[in-house]
Symmetry: C2
């Protein structure tokens, strides 16, 4: 293992980033790639061809999760997985998720070039819909793979146009029961995801690699207010039950609650707000907001969830309107497997690259993969910690180093 020297073809890899960013429904440099749109399907085709070209065996499951396999010399052993997602929220950037997909592919290509023969099979995994854009719930693919989801409920979820997951995946060519998606026990002996940090710490510290020790606990709530509409000119203020005023109170309460848990790591965001009927001269009768709440500890996160429920109930009574809180998900934090954290640290030490242990505030498919196999994550810095924006940026050097570390970590994990 010590002599293994996988060489990353940075130029080729950067061309692939450029090409993948072109599969987008936004004006460059912004990227919008929503699961099971025409654009998403074209991007998947591009990736499958790249995997096949690299000599990997490609298969897809009923949810569109894509597996590209390099058969090991001992194929009966549980495999080692790597990968990430390639869907992109509206008007975001080109590195979130894709660093683990294209970088994972490049790691496998670079290892093959060295003549390395893995004992365990190595698999690149491209997860379906890590982002919650379409169905309000993230990590669809990894939830199903890990058995963390009620598959029937998952399939019945509807997007904003009222189309169910089952309908849109079937239309996209991914058919059959979701039960076949869940991986058998011991399918993987390890899973490692390469990802941009999406925070400022590595850049601030001048450290090129983060070995993730835990992933924060995310919760997502959907709150619907139903008030009384009417003409904005004719209904006097005391007679109003304005659903948007109620939502505005909640938005400010969410901000205040997140700032007052006592934990500096609590974050809460209302990123989605839809107003019905949405005309400037009509009192809003129905408003839906989505609240995203996270902490690396469960208690402060749950405190904000409880605050939201309390505030919504109190306000609905006070304002004389209907309101309901739906918990879309409320997952516990995940601990990364110490042997994988140690493997990443050891590889960095071999390569003479600085590496720091850190937590992930963003969630990832690894949150769910950790339920079924020892899981780890490798972070690389991104400029100013910016993510989910068109100016999201990871340098070719940072990506190259991340791919090198990933390749040697995968070699280590697949050799025993």
């Amino acid at each position: 293992m010590m002599e293994l020297n996988p060489v990353v073809d940075a130029e080729h890899l950067m061309r692939e980033f450029e090409e993948l960013a072109g599969f987008s429904d936004a004006e460059p440099p912004a990227v919008t790639r929503v699961v099971f749109t025409e654009t998403d399907l074209r991007a998947r085709q591009f990736l499958k061809e790249s995997c096949a070209h690299a000599g990997l065996l490609v298969r897809e499951d009923a949810l569109g999760n894509t597996f590209a396999r390099w058969e090991g010399t001992n194929p009966a052993l549980p495999a080692v997985g790597t990968g990430s997602h390639m869907d992109a929220i509206p008007h975001s950037g080109r590195f979130d998720g894709t660093v683990g997909v294209l970088g994972g592919l490049e790691a496998l290509r670079a290892l093959r070039e060295t003549g390395f023969q893995p004992s365990r099979s190595l698999e690149l995994l491209i997860f379906t819909s890590e982002e919650p854009t379409r169905f309000g719930l993230g990590c669809l693919g990894s939830r199903a793979l890990s058995g963390a989801a009620d598959l029937g409920a998952l399939d019945r979820m509807v997007d904003k146009e009222g189309r169910s997951l089952e309908q849109v995946r079937t239309a996209a060519g991914f058919t059959g029961p979701l039960t076949a998606v869940t991986l058998p026990d011991s399918y993987y002996s390890a899973f490692v995801e390469l990802h941009i940090e999406q925070g400022p710490l590595l850049e601030r510290n001048g450290v090129p690699i983060g070995a993730v020790t835990a992933i924060a606990a995310p919760a997502a709530l959907r709150v619907k207010f139903e008030g009384t509409g009417g003409h904005a000119g004719a209904v006097l203020m005391p007679d109003r039950h304005d659903a948007l005023c109620a939502a505005a109170e909640l938005i400010l309460d969410v901000e205040k609650s997140a700032r007052s848990t006592g934990s500096p790591d609590t974050v809460a965001t209302v990123g989605f707000c839809s107003v019905h009927p949405g005309a400037s001269n009509s009192i809003p009768s129905r408003v839906t907001v989505e609240v995203d709440i996270r902490d690396i500890a469960l208690a402060p996160r749950n405190q904000v969830v409880a605050d939201v429920k309390h505030v919504v109930a109190e306000m609905a009574a006070r304002r004389g309107l209907q309101a309901g809180v739906e918990i879309l998900n409320a997952d516990p934090p995940a601990t990364m497997a110490p042997p994988i954290v140690d493997a990443v640290l050891a590889v960095c030490s071999q390569l003479g690259i600085a590496c720091q242990r850190m937590v992930s505030r963003a969630y990832h498919d690894s949150l769910y993969m950790a339920r079924i196999c020892p899981t780890g994550m490798i972070f690389i810095p991104c400029r100013a910690g910016v993510s989910h924006r068109p100016d999201e940026f990871a340098s070719p050097e940072a990506i190259t180093q991340g791919v090198q570390v990933l390749a040697l970590t995968l070699a280590k994990l697949s050799s025993d």
Copy 2:
């Protein structure tokens, strides 16, 4: 005049309401009919055919305002106009505006049936885009007709897809310079608009007819916040400049400001709120809201406008984001012409129908027509004062009485 007995064909009129409501982009009973959409153009065609069938001479101007004329015996005299609008905000009802359009047409038909010969020509006017849905500004047609608008600026306004008024009207077949739209002085000697009250007073008082004495002063503002986007998991609370939290503060301040002017007639509404990028796990970077503010007096209305400007500036500085307030319109109130108010009262007295003087809290095209000719409005009750909602309702009896009063008022005004 005293013997004139126009008979309203209520059954035929109700069939026309039913038919017009069918030109809609919403599921019944909701009506959505936005200016210069395919649906709007089909509805216009239906109305033009109905007018032609009634023996009226139809012309359209460069903005799509439609005139259906019954030539008087003395056509050199300024004409008498009636009419309203037929565009409908998203998910609204079938009576707002259309009562004055279909009811106005029926009034002319009923008068013709009696053998009445007007001295002045009578004209039914269907105004383009009374509702601000598409361009954020209401009363496009009547603003242009009355010379109240900067026609160049009007033509350059863009809709939410970035298409200018000039582009969409041209695509709809309404071409040529808007300067030709403004009516010459003394085109009309009087204008009378029949409309549902859109408030609860007539129904509450059991009075079938309202003679409007003044129209409230409306103002519309567009406020844009530009903060800093980012990943909802990774950016800690103290580092945020969330555009939606800023908008939420404004929404609550607008509500509070309207309640504290000292005038019970002040109303203010945020009916439109768009969030960019609009994903649940992304911090909102840009939010646009539209604020609608009205009072029958100018001072309290202007006080809320000033409050909005002040609050936005203070908040932008405190929250570290950019914000701008654009005044879309801020019109003074309009006084209805006393001779027309008196004519309505006299007709009601002739018919033995109760009638009350009242103000209009909603604005109408009559707000602008009052700038160029003596103008009046006739209100009929609508159920529970509800408007701009799918359950908006005016009874056939209420509409029939309104049309009778309108017909006799038009006969009076066109006879001298």
